[in-house]
């Protein structure tokens, strides 16, 4: 790891990441090992969103050329969001690509991701299926996102109706995660979801 990258991450830990402001916003960064190349981030779902109460884990990889190039970040926790892949957790966010600037920090990244959870940008989607639902069927989107938050991110808000549908199809012998994806992608239409699972 290049000198500047390592020195910078160490300093970020000391001065930025552990600041009180960071604790207040419920964002967190931890070391995974002692090389500073791989970190674990955590953000709390913002209030008044379907992600409220959830705790989302992020995988952060620091490139050799950090901070001149952005860190590579993706969601480890499964999440239903137009700009985040429901399959891989890959994120579509400008500051993680061409809008990155060397003067930004991990704190900027985590706060930006939290802001992204509060305000999606469906016109620049990462997950086309989710983005389409977000635009065309906001109610179903809200419920689905809430359901995923409860199941995967420990959110307190239950969606009993959706839980029941997942349980019903899982009872037929399908994997619960796959059932959830199938139902979520097909507006919770059990028949179409089953068709999708079989094909």
């Amino acid at each position: 790891m290049a000198n500047i990258a390592e020195a910078r991450i160490k300093r970020e830990f000391k001065e930025v990441v552990k600041s009180e402001e960071v604790a207040k916003c419920h964002i967190k960064v931890e070391l995974v090992n002692d090389t500073f190349t791989e970190l674990r981030g955590e953000i709390a779902g913002p209030p008044d969103t379907p992600y409220e109460g959830g705790n989302f884990i992020l995988e952060i990889k620091i490139p050799d050329t950090y901070p001149f190039n952005p860190p590579k970040v993706k969601f480890v926790t499964k999440i239903w969001h137009p700009n985040i892949s429901s399959v891989t957790g890959a994120i579509c966010l400008d500051i993680l690509k061409d809008q990155w600037a060397a003067a930004m920090t991990l704190r900027t990244v985590l706060l930006s991701l939290q802001a992204l959870l509060a305000a999606a940008e469906p016109d620049d989607p990462q997950d086309a299926v989710v983005a389409k639902q977000y635009k065309e069927n906001p109610k179903i989107f809200q419920d689905t996102a809430k359901h995923w938050t409860h199941v995967y991110a420990g959110g307190p808000n239950r969606t009993p109706e959706l839980d029941a549908k997942v349980a019903q199809l899982s009872g037929m012998g399908f994997d619960a995660n796959k059932v959830r994806v199938a139902l979520s992608s097909h507006s919770w239409d059990a028949e179409r979801a089953t068709e999708y699972l079989i094909s």
Partner: protein, 487 residues
């Protein structure tokens, strides 16, 4: 391309439109009646050769000199630093007059638009004799800090490392300030002042030279592999350029293979489509077909589409398997796609099928001519070695047999153009103009196949007959280009 050039082009468009030979179909017959003149005498003059294009092939040093002269003009006219002049030229496609004009009227706006000056300058005050650099987060003495015109200050070490990383990533003329949401460009002299290691300077020069060439409307890198030649032409047009160094031919405007009469956008669309649909079209690639009469399997080994069954001697067309007799003369139907006239009333499914059928029709012909071209390349080699043999056996000199080689070369040229008429026709709206195009395409196709037939049998073909066929084929090609290639 500058505004003036654009309007010139569109003028030409309308001229072309006006000069359309939109007479009745009946007139086509007499079109070429007088075309029996000698090839040399009738060689197209510069002014009426639709493919004529003025250009020069330059070495890197020539181009460096040329670009420096451009910079010098701005430097002396506006009294600005050469480095600044170069950045302005790069930002505005080397339009000197435009830059000079704007610089006199609204110099600040010009600099802002060129990302050389910020809308608002930040005043980051450094209190005391040291400050924290927001990139490395280290406390640095005050005189360690550098900033661009925007005022965002960072320590020299960070600037140094940053510039190195960018150059290694291949970015040079586009390196921006390190601050968030700031897109002010890093000038070369600033970069040189912060970069401690000189190793990357050469790489910077190479890469930025390439950016300058690419941004210049009159210059084009030769696309040949590892070829250092740069082509310069006074106007940016979709015309053929041939590199004398690596023998690559290409379109000056878009830099890919030459594609007359199809234009740059259309050929790109076509090539993308072909790549996307390659699966569907794969079944065509077979090199063998059955004779339509006696069903013996026939392998195509020459470029000519006029096939003769080795067994029953039936003459047929490789493309449509129709009787060749109906192709050779009167009305060559094989190149024209017959659209279903009722297609608008058909179901979506049928329309999709029809669309695929139409595409395959054109693709098959496009692909077939490409293959024929490859086979004719082999014919060319064969002829060359045959001539060599003859000369060695004292049956004539190279000069005596040169016409065979000329014929093979001309055949390649004509078939090449013919190949590129298919994407053109595919994207053409149904119209009288399309009718004319298809008529001329059919004429060209017929004569190309006739020429191909004769070239493959060159040694038993009368020289006069062959040369006459060459003449006719080239005339057909010229006529089509004259009517349909944008001047």
């Amino acid at each position: 391309m500058s505004e003036e050039m654009k309007s010139q082009d569109s003028d030409n468009d309308s001229e072309l439109e006006e000069s359309d030979h939109m007479d009745d179909d009946d007139d086509y017959g007499g079109y070429y009646d007088n075309d029996t003149g000698d090839l040399d005498i009738d060689k197209p003059k510069k002014s009426d050769d639709p493919e004529y294009f003025e250009y020069e092939l330059l070495e890197i040093e020539d181009v460096e000199r040329f670009l420096n002269e451009e910079v010098e003009v701005l430097h002396s006219t506006l009294q600005i630093q050469p480095g600044l002049a170069k950045m302005l030229l790069l930002a505005h496609g080397w339009r000197k007059d435009y830059i000079i004009d704007r610089c006199k009227k609204e110099p600040d706006r010009l600099l802002i638009d060129s990302r050389l000056m910020p809308e608002r300058k930040v005043t980051e005050q450094i209190f005391g004799n040291s400050a924290i650099c927001s990139v490395c987060l280290l406390r640095r003495p005050q005189d360690y800090f550098y900033s661009l015109s925007c005022g965002h200050s960072f320590c020299g070490e960070c600037w140094d490392e940053f510039c190195q990383v960018r150059i290694q990533q291949g970015v040079t003329t586009g390196i921006e300030c390190m601050a968030k949401d700031c897109n002010i460009l890093v000038p070369e002299d600033f970069l040189c002042s912060v970069m401690q290691k000189p190793e990357l300077r050469d790489r910077y020069s190479q890469l930025s030279f390439s950016d300058h060439v690419k941004s210049h409307p009159d210059l084009r890198f030769c696309p040949g592999a590892n070829c250092p030649i740069i082509v310069r032409a006074p106007v940016c047009k979709a015309k053929k350029v041939e590199c004398s160094r690596c023998k690559t031919t290409f379109c000056f405007k878009c830099g890919i293979e030459y594609h007359a009469p199809t234009d740059c956008d259309v050929i790109k669309k076509w090539l993308t489509k072909c790549a996307d649909d390659s699966e569907t079209a794969n079944y065509i690639s077979a090199h063998t077909k059955d004779c339509p009469k006696c069903h013996v399997c026939i392998e195509k080994n020459g470029g000519c589409n006029h096939m003769q069954c080795s067994k029953c001697k039936y003459d047929f067309c490789w493309m449509c398997l129709g009787d060749w007799k109906t192709h050779g003369s009167e009305y060559y139907e094989c190149s024209r796609y017959k659209e279903n006239p009722n297609i608008a009333n058909e179901s979506v499914h049928a329309q999709a099928r029809e669309a695929l059928k139409k595409y395959l029709f054109y693709f098959e012909r496009w692909e077939n001519h490409a293959k024929s071209l490859q086979l004719e390349e082999q014919t060319l080699h064969k002829i060359t070695s045959r001539i060599h043999e003859k000369v060695m056996n004292n049956t004539g000199t190279w000069i005596d047999w040169q016409y065979l080689l000329d014929a093979a070369h001309l055949l390649k040229k004509c078939r090449y153009t013919l190949q590129y008429t298919y994407p053109y026709a595919y994207y053409m709206e149904k119209s009288a103009r399309k009718q004319l195009f298809e008529y001329q395409q059919a004429q060209l196709e017929a004569e190309v196949e006739n020429l191909s037939w004769k070239v493959e049998r060159a040694e038993i073909t009368d020289r006069g007959d062959l040369e006459n066929q060459m003449d006719i084929a080239e005339k057909r090609r010229q006529t089509l280009l004259k009517d349909f290639l944008e001047f």
